[in-house]
């Protein structure tokens, strides 16, 4: 487990004290994929750099598997760092070295023999599917290929933890997905704890088990990805979720309606537990109402469906009430709809 205890980090800039991190407490379970999301300047990059102490906190402790990293000597810290892989937004590969030499670098630093290096190199090239690029230089690779090399390099020494600092932010959406799939595979097959910093909610949505939302150097919300997506509390969290899941009815849809009575429009929230879209069919069959599906936005997180559906219910108000109750009994949260202005 990675544990941040009362972490504060501040520095002086033009005579002003900037609080990069303010009393952060966070626990990252072993074997999970843990996402840290926030806008730029929220302190998320500083936080991930505290795990291998590329940045030192002014106060507080970083405890990894019962070892207090902040108390380690320089030498002991270097040894621990060799067991934590890290990948970066801009890959940080040595431009003057081939793919093979880049991947072998951490093994060379640790003094592995040529035969050991060769063996591990081939395993890793196989794993990232870049055997044919072994002797290529980084500037001959695409962004996605560079990040794969970065991943192979980070995994060279069989780390227990992999840190990803905006690892997909410089990649196009398709390449992002393939790199995320690779990270997921590493997590599932090798049980490596992955901590990733991102400003993209869809990255969190597609791979993370847990998420922490950061703002102004503080963790404002944390929990399982499913809980955060289905029941965000903080406005910033809601904003992030809005980027992947539309929370309000787009105003154009409302304008195109024949009956524009906003009171007839409801937002159904599917929170991934028991709720299924089939309940809609049940409503239509059981109740004498006209039901229009106006807009829906669904996603799947770790096998659970969550999202919103905007419907218009027209008919006898009493029957409408019964239908709404029926929906709630079936695990769907019902709200009078908000409209995006």
């Amino acid at each position: 487990m990675i544990e941040f205890k009362n972490i504060s980090k501040h520095y002086q800039l033009k005579g002003q004290t900037i609080r990069a991190l303010d009393q952060v407490n966070l626990q990252i379970p072993d074997g999970s994929i843990f996402g840290i999301i926030g806008y730029s300047g929220a302190g998320k990059s500083t936080l991930i750099r505290l795990i291998n102490l590329l940045e030192r906190p002014n106060e507080g402790q970083v405890i990894i598997n019962n070892t207090d990293f902040t108390a380690l000597s320089a030498k002991a810290l270097r040894q621990e760092r060799a067991n934590i892989g890290m990948i970066f937004q801009h890959f940080n590969l040595l431009q003057t070295k081939t793919v093979a030499a880049n991947i072998e670098m951490p093994m060379k630093l640790l003094g592995w023999s040529a035969a050991e290096r060769e063996k591990r190199l081939n395993e890793l090239l196989e794993f990232i599917d870049l055997k044919h690029k072994k002797d290529a230089y980084p500037d001959e690779l695409s962004g996605g290929q560079k990040q794969r090399v970065g991943i192979a390099r980070a995994l060279a020494n069989h780390p227990k933890i992999l840190l990803c600092d905006e690892a997909t932010s410089a990649l196009d959406p398709q390449t992002t997905q393939s790199v995320l799939e690779l990270l997921k595979k590493i997590n599932r097959e090798q049980g490596i704890t992955i901590v990733m910093v991102t400003h993209e909610m869809d990255v969190i949505e597609s791979v993370c088990d847990y998420v922490a939302v950061m703002e102004h150097g503080q963790v404002i919300e944390t929990g399982t990805t499913l809980d955060i997506f289905s029941q965000p509390q903080h406005p910033t969290t809601k904003n992030f979720i809005q980027t992947v899941l539309q929370q309000q009815l787009p105003v154009n849809i409302l304008n195109n309606l024949e009956n524009q009575n906003q009171n007839s429009i409801y937002c159904l929230k599917f929170l991934g537990k028991s709720a299924q879209e089939t309940v809609i069919q049940a409503v239509i069959k059981q109740f004498d109402l006209s039901l229009n599906i106006l807009f829906a936005n669904m996603t799947e997180i770790n096998g659970a469906v969550i999202g919103q559906m905007f419907i218009q219910l027209l008919g006898d108000p009493a029957i409408i009430q019964q239908a709404l109750q029926f929906l709630e009994q079936n695990g769907v949260q019902v709200e009078q709809a908000g409209v995006q202005g």
Binding site: L54, A82, H90, L94, T96, L109
Partner: protein, 231 residues
């Protein structure tokens, strides 16, 4: 080998070369220039790399920040860099006498040449190393590299091209400086230009030196650019 070159040059230039300067003297001067450039560059590189690496490592925010070393070394480098070569040449005569035993000749010239080019190479090395992407250093630290490993396995190899181009520039400045060293009897082709061309009004020698220097600089520049592109 040397005799052959002298013979060949003499027969080649015989139809038009009317100067008192023999091709034998010319080849000797050329050898002296190469000698000075080679050794001053060698010692200058040792000096320059130590200086450059030290300043990059100890600078605030560097991999081994040390205010005392950084702020101690920096002004010394500036002081040495501020002296024009012709003044340095005379100013260090006592040191030259102490180290070489004389203040005249090729070896004697190598002392001021090294003092001239060493701090200069140091600054060039410093700039080249600072150009290396911060991210490379961060990734090295994340791998658990020691400060020495970061310098020798990450920063220096990544700065290679830039270092070669900068050393090319330094070599060219040094060739210029060796010509000036002729003024204290260091020999070399600069000496020819002064003692034959300037003092004896022998224009053909001046033209010859100019052509030779031109070719020399051209070759060094081309070689440097070619080496910088290799990997």
């Amino acid at each position: 080998m040397r005799d052959l070159i002298v013979q060949w040059l003499t027969s080649l230039t015989a139809p038009f070369w009317k100067s008192a300067l023999s091709m034998d003297q010319f080849v000797t001067a050329l050898q002296e220039t190469f000698h000075m450039v080679f050794f001053a560059m060698l010692f200058g590189c040792i000096w320059g790399f130590i200086q450059g690496i030290t300043l990059v490592a100890t600078r605030p925010g560097g991999i081994l920040p040390n205010r005392a070393i950084y702020h101690g070394l920096n002004p010394i480098v500036n002081a040495l860099r501020s002296l024009p070569f012709i003044i340095l040449l005379i100013a260090v005569i006592p040191l030259t006498k102490f180290l070489v035993g004389t203040s005249i000749g090729t070896w004697a010239a190598i002392v001021p040449l090294t003092i001239y080019v060493g701090p200069y190479i140091g600054r060039l090395v410093e700039t080249s190393l600072l150009e290396v992407n911060e991210g490379i250093i961060e990734s090295a630290q994340a791998m658990g590299a020691t400060p020495l490993q970061i310098i020798f396995k990450f920063i220096l190899p990544e700065a290679r091209s830039s270092l070669i181009l900068n050393l090319t520039t330094a070599t060219i400045s040094l060739i210029g400086a060796t010509a000036m060293a002729g003024a204290v009897g260091a020999g070399g082709i600069g000496d020819l230009a002064i003692s034959y061309g300037y003092q004896r009004f022998d224009t053909s020698v001046v033209i010859l030196t100019v052509i030779v220097l031109l070719i020399l600089v051209q070759i060094v520049q081309m070689l440097g650019e070619w080496l910088a592109k290799l990997r």
